[in-house]
Assembly symmetry: C2
Homo-oligomer: 216 residues x 2
């Protein structure tokens, strides 16, 4: 060995710079040179950590989706698990991902820019699908737990319900982002609340359990 640097941290540092650039000027304004300048390093060093620009963008997309995901899982981890309806925890988690403040709007701006490019680029699409499926799986697990608890009827198919909830949430996010006048965040929250209420129709018979917690 010789001189050492935290490879992963450097890559994240670059990805962060790309994210800032996208929210400032848009995805197609991103250049390697600008990225390097924003990250405070040389172009050569960016090349040292990413062989091509595409690889850099791919990693950045990963990075961004991870951040959004983290925000949601963090909230779930923080929430009270005892005596709280799973319905409310799920609602809180979904609300958390809405573009409520400017920071979250910027995050979605970046994510949406990538979504557009993912329509053309299979590798970006792959990243998107993976994130989508994790999201659905998380919701499905919550619904399953809610079924065991009694909040959701036994007849409900957890996967179907989860897929619908996720799609609805994403649609609302898109509309809040594109037209906050026609679809204010509060309206989106209300819509999600009503939809969840139509799924979580029962009373909890057992002690509360976190959405991610496995039944005993």
């Amino acid at each position: 060995m010789s001189r050492v640097a935290d490879h992963d941290e450097r890559r994240h540092q670059v990805a962060s710079a790309v994210g800032q650039l996208i929210s400032a000027e848009g995805l197609n304004a991103v250049t390697v040179a600008k990225t390097a300048a924003r990250a405070g390093i040389s172009v050569g060093l960016v090349q040292h950590y990413f062989r091509t620009k595409d690889e850099m963008l791919l990693f950045t997309y990963h990075h961004v989706l991870e951040r959004i995901e983290q925000r949601e899982t963090d909230l779930v981890a923080r929430s009270e698990t005892v005596g709280t309806r799973i319905e409310h925890i799920v609602l809180d988690a979904l609300r958390e991902s809405l573009p409520l403040d400017d920071e979250r709007r910027q995050e979605w701006r970046v994510a949406l820019a990538f979504t557009g490019r993912a329509a053309d680029d299979p590798r970006l699409a792959e990243v998107k699908v993976a994130a989508l499926r994790r999201r659905r799986a998380r919701i499905a697990e919550a619904v399953t737990n809610a079924k065991e608890c009694g909040e959701v009827p036994e007849a409900t198919d957890a996967d179907t319900a989860a897929a619908r909830i996720a799609a609805y949430a994403d649609g609302l996010i898109g509309h809040v982002f594109a037209d906050p006048t026609g679809m204010p965040p509060a309206a989106a929250q209300a819509a999600l609340g009503d939809h969840l209420a139509s799924v979580f129709t029962g009373e909890c018979r057992l002690r509360g359990r976190a959405p991610g917690e496995r039944p005993a």
Copy 2:
């Protein structure tokens, strides 16, 4: 005057070429030269009809959204207005816009690519918002008519219901597009059907009326 050409038709011809290019190679692979080649004309002529590339893309976005919109309004115009529940007409119209076959998938591919860029470009965003609002307004009108008819309860706010329906539909479209395995078209149709059923809870007291038709 002198030599004449149908300005509008030429512009649409170019826009169509751009659309083909996007669905073949993606939005960022579009160049003026390729567009001209695809349209069978010279680069100079493209410049003759569009002062800049941006203007060309803007017009193309318009063109694409118009096509998608047309598909929906055409179906509504074709549908039987007498004795048909407005709920079913709305459902048919929404289903029509799902990426069911390859042609519609391509259309959405193009639209989504632009959506991504609209996150950065205010002028593209403007076009998107306008289309969004027209869509919501159309649905709201259908809900209003359904209220008069008795299919939808009087207490329902048409605008709110319409905004929710539109957001849900768009979310489903996005998921069907991104992950047809996890969200097959049939599942999206079922989800829309169930949602509409939760809005259109009444029986029609009057003769059937088209969603766009004004009450007497």
